[in-house]
């Protein structure tokens, strides 16, 4: 008996991260995080746009039109990153059977799809002056389009199943299958057509762009990140309210 008591004391001393896996404790925590992330996102995106649109020098080949990359590139990064994150949460949900993980996956999907759409639209706006066409079937634009199809599949499956529990699990399997497929699709499309200009930002070699451009892009990326966190947490809170509307916890406040 004594042993068990000391153990619980120890556990009480240690900060337990897992307690936030419960919607009940997560709901207020998310509420506290949202304003900070939203404010940070607003400031960073404004600063990033200032750097990109006003400070960064004009590209001598592409003129002013290149400036759209300050939105396009971070949006494209996030469209893929959020899909993988969604699949990760979906997988966590399947493994741990944690409801909050499914809610996170559900909440991430619309933001990911939005960034995919932004990347596609800005890509085609960039393509018109550079390539002379609104749409070119090059590897990256095409993979981005297919990524949008994958998001649409995820939404459609989720919407078609009435039973929430089954909808969560089935769409989680789909998200994981999609995540395994994303690199294969990307590679196959690249094999199919390599028309695009080479990657201008890569981790292995020094970036072939002015430092201020890189800075602007990184600031925008962090801004998009904070925006994503804020929006996803808001959506998770709405999801918790919707699913647990009858739970007693909500009557506390």
């Amino acid at each position: 008996m004594k042993n068990i008591d000391t153990k619980t004391d120890l556990q009480r001393l240690k900060f337990n991260w897992l307690q936030f896996a419960s919607p009940k404790t997560f709901y207020p925590l998310a509420g506290k995080i949202i304003p900070w992330c939203a404010a940070g996102a607003a400031i960073l995106i404004a600063y990033g746009l200032y750097l990109g649109l006003l400070v960064a020098p004009t590209d001598f080949q592409q003129g002013e039109g290149y400036r759209i990359i300050f939105v396009h590139v971070p949006a494209a990064w996030f469209s893929m990153f959020l899909y993988l994150l969604m699949a990760l949460y979906a997988g966590l949900g399947l493994v741990l059977n944690a409801r909050l993980s499914y809610m996170m996956a559900t909440a991430i999907a619309p933001t990911g799809a939005m960034f995919t759409l932004v990347a596609l639209v800005t890509g085609s706006l960039w393509g018109k002056p550079m390539w002379g066409a609104w749409w070119v079937w090059d590897a990256r634009l095409t993979s981005e389009l297919i990524l949008l199809f994958l998001y649409i599949g995820y939404f459609s499956l989720k919407a078609a199943i009435d039973d929430k529990n089954r909808a969560d699990k089935a769409s989680a399997v789909l998200a994981i299958v999609g995540a395994i497929n994303v690199p294969i699709i990307y590679f196959s499309v690249k094999w199919w057509n390599t028309l695009h200009q080479g990657a201008s930002v890569s981790l292995t070699q020094a970036p072939a762009m002015a430092a201020v451009m890189l800075k602007g892009m990184l600031v925008m990326t962090i801004g998009f990140w904070l925006y994503s966190i804020a929006v996803v947490l808001m959506r998770v809170r709405a999801e918790i309210l919707e699913r647990d509307s009858k739970a007693a916890m909500l009557r506390l406040d």
């Binding site: 599949g153 089954r166 089935a170 789909l174 299958v177 395994i180 196959s188």
Partner: protein, 228 residues
């Protein structure tokens, strides 16, 4: 008392049974087959019968049509077994579900993919393809349609018993079919411009090998979710 069956003989029986059941509904099997022929024959009517144009279009037309034909018959893999309760008995049995699922996929392929492989060279002739291209077309379809059945089975399992399944399966499965389409049609295209098809066929084989490993696992997981 019935004697206990070994896993191998169970798998063989599942395969034989699925093929037999499908053959009893011959019209279903024939419909997919004729859909492929009719749909492929529509393209020249839309584009004009210029032999050069037809030859250039042929790989993509035949492959996309094969893709759609395979997709149309996907719900057949599990739907009837789900409706009459057989699927639940399969999941409850002490036999490995993943392997049984694989057998059901193979049975589906034998009656929806394989006939396309046999008839595709004939349609290829209509599209002005010649010897080496027809061979590559048949070989790429032989590997590709099996991959299509495997990948499609995940979609069929996920949408089991859901309203409006047909269109939903298309939305789920078609994006996942893209690598198969790219490498399959790419192999035929490579031959028609005088290059070797080996690269594309190897990649298609790699996609098939991956689908062979992962798709029965994912399908079995999706089935157990659907039957919860």
């Amino acid at each position: 008392m019935k004697k206990k069956l070994s896993t191998l003989s169970v798998l063989y029986r599942v395969l034989a049974r699925d093929i037999r059941v499908a053959l009893r509904r011959q019209s279903d099997v024939a419909a997919v087959f004729f859909f492929f022929i009719i749909a492929a024959s529509l393209f020249p009517l839309g584009s004009g019968a210029d032999p050069k144009l037809l030859k250039a279009m042929a790989p993509s037309v035949l492959w996309v049509t094969a893709l759609l034909s395979c997709m149309l018959s996907l719900s057949r893999i599990y739907a009837s077994d789900h409706a009459d309760g057989t699927l639940e008995q399969i999941m409850l049995s002490n036999q490995p579900t993943v392997l049984i699922v694989l057998m059901k996929i193979l049975a589906h392929w034998a009656l929806s993919g394989l006939p396309l492989v046999l008839v595709a060279p004939l349609i290829g002739v209509q599209f002005n393809l010649s010897g080496a291209e027809l061979q590559t077309l048949a070989l790429s379809l032989l590997m590709g349609t099996l991959a299509l059945s495997l990948i499609g089975s995940i979609g069929a399992a996920l949408t089991l018993g859901i309203r409006g399944t047909g269109v939903l399966i298309a939305i789920l499965v078609l994006p996942l079919y893209i690598p198969v389409l790219v490498f399959g049609a790419g192999a035929v295209n490579a031959v028609s411009i005088g290059m070797s098809a080996n690269g594309a066929l190897s990649l298609l084989g790699a996609v098939l090998a991956m689908a062979l490993v992962f798709s029965p696992l994912a399908s079995a997981a999706a089935l157990s979710i659907a039957l919860e």
